[in-house]
Subunit: 129 residues, 4 copies
């Protein structure tokens, strides 16, 4: 899956050393996942057609370098596991060729607030995504 989202690091996102705050990596991944769903043919809000929403169950971030003010971060998304009601995506946050952070996030599909299987049509789109 190619890069799905990119943006210059904002001044307001940086700490007293000019380094982006850790929390913003989750914001960037959140923007990237919306772009990824849209690229897979499921734009924001479209899961409602199946009575579905999804939420984040768990996320793990590992940093290897820092993004700084003046740099542009890019985010790749790769599906890592597709369960009956869950989906795990791996995000790679880079500045050019340098990796800053790897993020592994597990989402759960829900209907009426309870875990619910991905419909076949959605599974097909995710698998092709």
């Amino acid at each position: 899956m190619p890069e799905v989202w990119s943006a210059p690091v904002r001044f307001v996102e940086c700490d007293q050393q000019g380094v982006a705050f850790n929390a913003h990596y989750l914001t960037w991944a959140d923007e990237a996942v919306n772009a990824w769903w849209a690229a897979a043919g499921l734009p924001f809000g479209s899961l409602a057609a199946w009575g579905l929403e999804y939420y984040v169950k768990a996320t793990a971030l590992d940093w290897v370098s820092s993004a700084r003010y003046g740099e542009t971060v890019a985010v790749d998304v790769e599906p890592a596991a597709l369960g009956r009601t869950s989906l795990t995506l791996v995000f790679t946050v880079r500045v050019a060729d340098r990796v800053c952070c790897t993020i592994r996030t597990t989402y759960v599909a829900t209907a009426d607030g309870r875990p619910s299987p991905w419909p076949d049509e959605v599974r097909a789109l995710i698998s092709a995504g």
Copy 2:
């Protein structure tokens, strides 16, 4: 370790369902860790006396419920592991007695940009913290 940080969920922190965005849990943990260091006798900036800084190496978040607008989140901090150059803390984000999220974060001490052992005096304060 008792609760070290607490705040009402802000309107600006909530999404279209009134639920706090995931990224803000890292912001809350970041505020809590600064309070935890201060309570341990090492207020913000004091590690500079040993020529030390620290950075976040990895963090993992597991959600069991959501914090919503109108609720107040409280954060507890517990040391989980103290290595030669690393420190792992576990944060519990709650709304009253209901747990929302557990966060496990590993920090690394650095001097001149390279991992550096915690000095004995700092180890003693962390262990008592």
Copy 3:
């Protein structure tokens, strides 16, 4: 009107000089206005009983000093003008006795997306607020 909202300045709210970013003053005022409405007897969402919402038409901020990391900001709210469909509030953001910023904001009541008069009951609560 006494202070309606207060919070320690967050690390994530501060720039490379340890000074709070200007945009966060609007966030603080937004929290304060929700507290002010609640204190006036109109908690968040209660205007829906009259089919009303409100939006911000204009806001002007004047800074006289900076809030910094380690300090606690407090916000006072004073009604300055109550029009047929509008309401102007003045917020004072302070650190202890030192004023940091004065914010003057005009809100407009709307029903179905168009300006709509404040109902008498709401006017009475605002005037007493």
Copy 4:
């Protein structure tokens, strides 16, 4: 002056109605002003060569429409007044041809914390900007 900054509205920037929070307009203007200085030949940090910094003295925002999730905001910058120690810029935040917000901000140049005249070389770059 052409558009100096543009970005899709982020999901995390939107409230429960899908409308961008007011405070983020100041964040966008802050990104735009850094781009404007750079385009004028004075990239971030370059005023330090004259021993100068600048701070925001006052800013006034007037909204005529809302930016929403799924839309892209663009910001234009026009110098409106250049005083001995001050500079007033007018920002227009648009979604395509629709104006959302006009922001008028006055900056003050400082040296050692006190207002200080813009050097001739800086005045020339600002005037041409």
